[in-house]
Symmetry: C2
């Protein structure tokens, strides 16, 4: 992906600014493709992410603040995001008996089944996105990203 081409500029961009723009462009592209892959399943990337977190709990519930901590993109309104999943019967919510302030959220069998299908679609896109990288390059990239 060539930065200058994507933003249709002819003038040279300083290395620092170019790097920052580059990160944004790659992320935009990735998000677009991932979001499109999820479109048939009618969930957003954020919703998919929450489902994955819930599955990772292996039966144990997660409350809202835990979900928010673990989300890739933290957001101010996890309640309404979970509402959407609830409406699809992908999750179940219960008031925590030990601490009635907390809400415990579980993934349902229906949610798990849907998630499995999404996994396949996402994996396909991930492969496509990363197809031009060798393992060494990916390690190198991760090392560089760690410096941010």
């Amino acid at each position: 992906m060539n930065v200058e081409e994507v933003i249709k500029t002819s003038s040279a961009i300083p290395l620092g600014k170019r790097t920052i723009i580059h990160m944004q462009l790659v992320r935009n592209k990735m998000d677009d493709e991932l979001t499109n892959a999820l479109k048939p399943y009618e969930v957003s990337l954020q919703q998919f992410n929450v489902l994955r977190i819930l599955r990772g709990q292996k039966g144990k519930p997660a409350n809202l603040s835990t979900l928010n901590e673990r989300m890739v993109s933290k957001m101010s309104n996890t309640t309404r995001l979970v509402d959407k999943l609830l409406a699809k019967d992908y999750v179940r919510r219960e008031v925590c008996a030990a601490n009635r302030r907390k809400i415990e959220i579980y993934i349902t069998p229906k949610g798990n089944a849907a998630l499995e299908k999404m996994d396949a679609a996402i994996l396909k896109v991930e492969k496509a996105i990363l197809q031009h990288f060798t393992k060494t390059e990916l390690i190198q990239l991760n090392t560089l990203l760690d410096k941010f």
Copy 2:
């Protein structure tokens, strides 16, 4: 920035997935910081980007579709974004005489003056973001990002 720490996970993430999450996290962090830097000036990153594009036109106008082409994050609704800048007197809009379908947008002196102040704030954040990188590393990173 450590991926596992940010998303509070203990289990190992496969290299490919980790890379994609990593990109998202870095971009989120960058956007947060850039957006915060612009907050005192009451413009969004997108609006800032449009102002920069207009300045780059050096007096020549840009129409909406040109703006959209050059924006880092393309969006479906440039009209309303420009409306916001218009409300602040940062831009001026005119119907194109040669082709009355097109709208020509210019940055105003007031917009230019505001932009200069924003530049300083943004530059500061950009430096902070990239402080841990050597020039060689930035070049290496750009080369890797090109592969997406």
